[in-house]
């Protein structure tokens, strides 16, 4: 499962500019660039009075905590929230074929989705394998040019070469279905949100929750409403991807120059004309970016929906996970990365050309050429045999060797992190009474991010207690904090190195791209192979998942430090180390704080997946709620607890970043 809320949110903010460049290079960093473009007043930062205040507060808190700490008793397994969700489940289960809500609502929804999937699948399977490859090339050629066409053909041939053709096409068909629906629903909503402020205000928190809610948490309700199978899978994917569509569309429409709109209005355009002739065409690059990001989100979610019977590459990955077969997961993961790269390049290419116009004749000729090529390929009798190559044996050999020879080292590392960091932190958090935690969140929030954020964060923290999952939430929080710490240390180190060496940055970029596109499921496997079933495994997987955007943000932050400032510091005789510590990092602080905010939310998403491999706590509750009937209510409650935890962390860190910026 991979929640990529932050990456998406980041792109959303950067929408208009980013549309013209590739996602990999600009998506995340442009937000950082936007941050960096604001006026800088950081140097007034160190006020001695404030430091003293913080120190006093820390001491007071520690003292108070020692006075009020509890024994950290286990959560009840019969909280009101669990019972409530269980009751809802039972009600739905028994009214599915009688209540009008289902007869005329939910069931028709499902039916409509089934239709869409059927059409898409029929189209996808209508062509033979080689013709599909040619068609991919043709679409890429028309949308994005010759180089992308070559890439698309190579990518699709790669699928066949990996022996994952069928699965790959199944995955593609589901992704396309979900994206179609997301665009149909999301774009009008986005336009509405941009034009009617009230709609935007209502939608925003809903989208926030949709993006933080762990994917596992809504698989169970999905199967409850739509049963297992492709429709449920597509709807789950839709829910996961549509916030991005809405957000980027909204930003794109809002970004349309008011001058142009006014001019058109002055010329007597109707409101409908203003939308269809001015706003939508002018926002076209953003709309293309919205499609691009929706595809990326959908692709990562479709893999997870294998758990509710979606066909495709996800099946291979789920199976590999169950058998701890790292090699098989690598093959399937690679196939997904190939698909992602091809789809990404096609849509970014299309976005780049969205503004440009070609004469109709040229377009016709190009379309004709492409169609002729597809036809020619489909007429050649290719036969059904093709070479296959799997990386599984090699990957498994390497994993086996590492496991055998590094076992002592990995085991020692795991124990060390667990005893030195994780366990002490966990016991502090779990023995904190909930009201004390809420109080601390409120105070820290007020000092750091203002009373509004503090209020939201404190309410969210209290909500976790209300759900009856306090102990598990605090255990999860401990894991998240340790993972976030490791992520930040690694991310800052790598980011700083990348900022100083163009070669390293160029070399690292494809690795980061792949790490971001690989479904997060896949990371679990090497982590499990090396570290067994433990919280540490979840931490390792989370770090791999969250480091790439942090590296990018840090790199961009450091690179964006004005060259004159760096020069001046050099001229004043700073050593490179001093330059970094005294000038570049302090000036890049906003980028770093933003990176911390994003890193933490991403880590949270991944730590939940760790529930699959022994990380326990909320992640386990969610996973079990999905797999065991009697745990349904607790699982759903745990899903919401994770959302609340996400809100607490996001508000505290986001506020911090903003406060520093102002």
């Amino acid at each position: 499962m991979s929640t990529r809320p932050v990456e998406a949110a980041a792109t959303a903010e950067a929408a208009p500019e980013a549309a013209t460049a590739t996602r990999a290079e600009t998506a995340v960093p442009t937000r950082a660039a936007a941050w960096a473009a604001r006026p800088v007043h950081i140097l007034r930062e160190s006020r001695p009075g404030r430091r003293t205040l913080v120190a006093v507060l820390v001491v007071l808190t520690a003292g108070a905590w020692a006075g009020v700490r509890t024994t950290g008793a286990a959560d009840t397994d019969d909280a009101a929230a669990f019972r409530f969700f269980d009751d809802v489940r039972d009600w739905v289960d028994s009214h599915r074929d009688t209540h009008p809500l289902f007869l005329y609502g939910v069931n028709y929804l499902r039916l409509a989705v089934v239709e869409v999937i059927d059409i898409v699948q029929t189209l996808m399977h209508a062509l033979s394998g080689p013709a599909t490859v040619a068609a991919a090339g043709a679409v890429a050629f028309l949308a994005a040019g010759v180089r992308t066409a070559i890439l698309a053909v190579a990518g699709f041939l790669g699928l066949g070469l990996l022996g994952l053709w069928e699965a790959g096409i199944d995955t593609l068909a589901l992704t396309v279905s979900a994206v179609l629906l997301a665009v149909l629903i999301g774009m009008p909503l986005g336009v509405l949100a941009a034009r009617v402020d009230a709609v935007g205000a209502v939608l925003r928190p809903v989208l926030d929750v949709m993006q933080i809610l762990p994917t596992f948490a809504y698989l169970a309700p999905m199967t409850l409403l739509f049963s297992i199978g492709e429709p449920a899978a597509v709807i789950a994917t839709l829910i996961y991807a549509v916030p991005v569509t809405v957000r980027i569309t909204e930003l794109g429409i809002r970004g349309v120059s008011p001058v142009t709109v006014e001019a058109a209005a002055a010329l007597g355009s109707t409101r409908w004309q203003l939308l269809s002739k001015v706003r939508l065409p002018m926002a076209r690059p953003s709309l293309a970016l919205a499609v691009n990001q929706t595809i990326m989100m959908a692709l990562s979610m479709v893999v997870v929906t294998a758990l509710i019977d979606a066909p495709g590459l996800g099946q291979d990955i789920v199976r590999a996970l169950e058998r701890v077969n790292v090699g098989a997961a690598f093959d399937a993961g690679l196939a997904i990365v190939l698909l992602a790269i091809v789809l990404d390049r096609i849509t970014t290419g299309a976005a780049r050309r969205a503004g440009a116009h070609r004469p109709v004749r040229t377009r016709l000729i190009r379309t004709g050429l492409a169609a002729a090529a597809v036809l020619a390929v489909s007429l050649v009798p290719w036969g059904t045999r093709h070479p296959e190559h799997s990386f599984a044996p090699v990957v498994n050999d390497v994993t086996g060797w590492v496991e055998l020879h590094w076992f002592d080292a990995t085991d020692a590392l795991r124990s060390a992190v667990s005893t030195v960091l994780l366990n002490p932190l966990e016991s502090v958090l779990t023995t904190t009474p909930w009201w004390f935690f809420v109080l601390v969140v409120a105070v820290v929030g007020t000092l750091g991010s203002g009373w509004r954020s503090a209020l939201v964060a404190a309410l969210a923290a209290a909500g976790i207690a209300g759900l009856g999952l306090w102990l598990h939430a605090m255990q999860t929080l401990a894991t998240v904090l340790v993972a976030a710490l490791v992520t930040m240390v690694l991310g800052i180190l790598l980011g700083v190195f990348c900022a100083q060496s163009d070669r390293l940055a160029a070399g690292l970029r494809p690795v980061l791209d792949a790490a971001q596109t690989m479904p997060s499921f896949v990371y679990l496997l090497p982590a499990v192979a090396l570290f067994g079933a433990s919280r540490f495994t979840a931490i390792v997987a989370a770090v791999i998942y969250a480091v790439p955007p942090v590296v990018r943000l840090v790199e961009r932050g450091v690179r964006d430090v004005p060259a004159e400032v760096v020069e001046a510091a050099r001229a004043a005789g700073s050593t490179p180390g001093q330059l970094l510590r005294k000038v570049q990092l302090p000036l890049a602080r906003r980028g770093l704080l933003l990176a911390a905010n994003q890193g933490i939310v991403m880590v949270l998403a991944m730590v939940v997946v760790g529930g699959l491999v022994g990380a326990g706590a909320l992640g386990y509750d969610v996973v079990a709620g999905f797999a065991q009937r009697e745990d349904f209510g607790r699982g759903l409650a745990a899903g919401f607890a994770i959302v609340l935890l996400g809100i607490v962390l996001d508000r505290l860190t986001q506020g911090l970043a903003k406060e520093r910026a102002s």
Partner: protein
């Protein structure tokens, strides 16, 4: 834009015009004729059943087999929509039987697989030799220290499998007031790896495990005695304080498949073999790196007398 409007209006009208849709409307079509959809639950013994049945369906009866990797309880939901035709190794699940067979009437019992299922807590043989009284749950607390890990929070660790497996372990630990904590390894493969390590390196391990299971043919593990099972002692999953029952593993088919599945359903219904048979195929699958097709093919070639009677005349 205008088109979207028109289409959606038409769609709305269409909806208003006709009656309500059932929860399974539009979900296909009892499997296209000649296709059997077998759920694959995540343990290798199950896969052995599915592999052999799939092989025979394809090679002896000419059906196409579609395998679906699904967890146990989720696979049951597939009976409603026709996503799943058959589950070929079911462990108890009386609550699901009540819901899907008795109340919803979308599934039927297709008879036992011939395998006897045991679930229990195990320790490696060397531990039973070294600490003879460890095999009684009453003495487990005495040894809790041995089983401490970084994950067990100062208590002893009881290693469980996939969170979707049939288990009462969390309730058992708390109701028997044991100083232990259940930690989920996530999969059968992870469980087996831990067990093998415990034997090879003489590391203490207390774990959830089950038979039929190929590992028992290679290494010895001893079951820990829990309070004796009596009928109904596990009725309330939260209050269980007794051992697991002996399971008669069976096959469950969707009603639709049972009615229209013809020879395919007959074959699945007739299928019954021993734990040794299953362990053999599971061994092929796990330790000899064979896929379903090859492992089942090998077994089928060598055991004609066993499977011939399953083929419907």
């Amino acid at each position: 834009m205008r088109w979207t409007l028109i289409t959606s209006t038409t769609l709305l009208l269409a909806v208003a015009g006709c009656g309500g849709a059932s929860s399974t409307a539009g979900s296909d079509s009892p499997s296209a004729k000649g296709t059997v959809k077998i759920a694959i639950n995540p343990w290798v013994g199950y896969e052995a059943n599915a592999a052999v049945l799939g092989y025979l369906l394809e090679h002896e009866l000419g059906y196409t087999v579609e395998e679906k990797n699904l967890k146990e309880e989720i696979a049951w939901q597939g009976f409603e929509t026709g996503e799943v035709d058959v589950i070929v190794e079911n462990w108890g699940h009386d609550d699901l039987k009540k819901t899907y067979i008795d109340e919803k009437k979308v599934a039927v019992n297709a008879g036992p697989t011939g395998n006897d299922g045991i679930i229990g807590w195990y320790v490696p043989q060397w531990m039973a030799d070294k600490y003879p009284d460890i095999t009684d749950y009453k003495n487990l607390d005495k040894y809790a220290n041995l089983f401490k890990t970084s994950e067990s929070g100062g208590k002893g660790q009881l290693l469980d499998g996939d969170p979707s497996f049939v288990t009462n372990d969390a309730a058992l630990v708390s109701n028997l007031k044991l100083n232990y904590k259940v930690v989920y390894s996530g999969s059968e493969a992870a469980l087996i790896k831990a067990a093998q390590q415990a034997t090879a390196q003489q590391k203490p391990l207390l774990f959830y495990f089950y038979e039929p299971q190929w590992l028992f043919a290679k290494e010895k593990y001893v079951r820990v005695k829990l309070p004796t099972y009596t009928a109904g002692c596990d009725a309330d999953p939260k209050k269980v304080a007794c051992d697991y029952p002996d399971y008669v593993l069976d096959k469950i088919a969707s009603k639709k498949f049972a009615d229209t599945g013809g020879a395919a359903y007959q074959l699945i219904k007739n299928f019954t073999w021993t734990n040794d048979d299953q362990n053999l195929v599971a061994d092929y699958l796990t330790n000899q790196g064979m896929d379903h097709e090859r492992a089942a093919g090998k077994w089928v070639k060598e055991h004609e007398a066993t499977w011939k009677p399953w083929i419907p005349s």
